[in-house]
Symmetry: C2
């Protein structure tokens, strides 16, 4: 088994935190995104989508999606459960993971990629070049502010994002909140519940992953 | 149990097809998206995200995400499996569902919502109003064309999107391909594998859902 990672990137960080929570170690290869190693023919042969993370199984199968990789490890290493146990919990974890991804993580990607000078022509990850859209960067910033308010309301009613225990929904939310700092959007003072939760999940050893 | 649906909308169609494949019937309420019923205070009390589908369980829990709802039914009604059985199959189904969603379904949403006169100020679903971004509509169209090529390549190697059998990855791809017709982007003639697959999955009774 081999894990293609990039320590500075938020997307593979989701998997690293997931693995740390499970206590799993996987042989890891660093992909140098800063120097566009993901666009080399050598890496495109590994993942035509030109993204990390990638998990390569011993039979050669490659899983090229962060959540797909987590699904794999949840199945082979179910303890502690990070994707829910009952039908209802599984559904709520999936739902909150996707809300955090859509409203937080993707909004952060839009805000960063459409405004950073070094990412000109690279407004989307992947093998194709797309020009930056300044209005989309602005919209991303507006959406991040709304995400903070939404998650603060949620965390006023719940210890963790999807319910009473830590799950992959917390991982996506944590990575999205930390990623928003890249575009200089820290959690505002008034979001006391989100700040309480953020301090708590950041204190877990997995957050350093 | 109660299912909030809108027969003309692509997002709840994903769940309808999933339920039809499982042979499950759920009491259903239609939400009139055309007349913005999703933005009424009555519906916002059901789902503050102002979207369908929503599944309301008998204990009052509401699942407000299409994939979250499918996860629920997969857990309580595992046969036929539509989200994979082995760890590897589960991971690949998740991965391909997400590739089809990101590159096909979301691209279609961008293309439609940022260009349709009737959706001015409604460039994203949800409770907040966002102005249309014409460049994003154009980018969505470019991405749909790339999605067709990508899925054609995939289906030249595989009977179904995620492997040897029908799964939720086929459902998302089918709904994305049909949704692209709304912005007048049919599958091009040269994508013979994608067309073969589309004819095949469209012939299943579930496709009428």
């Amino acid at each position: 088994m081999k894990f293609y990672d990039c320590t500075t990137a938020p997307s593979p960080r989701r998997v690293r935190i997931f693995l740390a929570e499970k206590g799993i170690t996987v042989p890891t290869v660093q992909v140098d995104l800063r120097n566009n190693e993901q666009l080399t023919s050598a890496f495109l042969a590994i993942n035509p989508e030109a993204t990390v993370p990638v998990l390569e199984l011993d039979n050669g199968t490659r899983i090229t999606d962060a959540i797909g990789i987590c699904v794999y490890f949840e199945a082979i290493h179910p303890t502690p459960p990070l994707m829910g146990e009952s039908a209802e919990e599984k559904a709520l974890v999936t739902m909150w993971q996707r809300i955090a991804e859509r409203n937080g993580f993707f909004a952060g990607m839009e805000a960063l990629r459409n405004a950073t000078p070094g990412l000109k022509g690279r407004a989307l990850p992947g093998p194709d070049n797309y020009e930056q859209i300044p209005a989309l960067a602005e919209r991303g910033r507006t959406r991040i502010a709304r995400f903070f308010t939404q998650m603060d309301a949620r965390l006023s009613q719940s210890d963790f994002v999807a319910g009473a225990r830590y799950s992959i929904a917390d991982i996506t939310t944590l990575v999205a909140v930390d990623f928003a700092k890249w575009v200089k959007l820290p959690v505002p003072e008034e979001c006391a519940h989100l700040r309480r939760w953020h301090a708590q999940v950041s204190a877990r050893p997995s957050a350093k992953a």
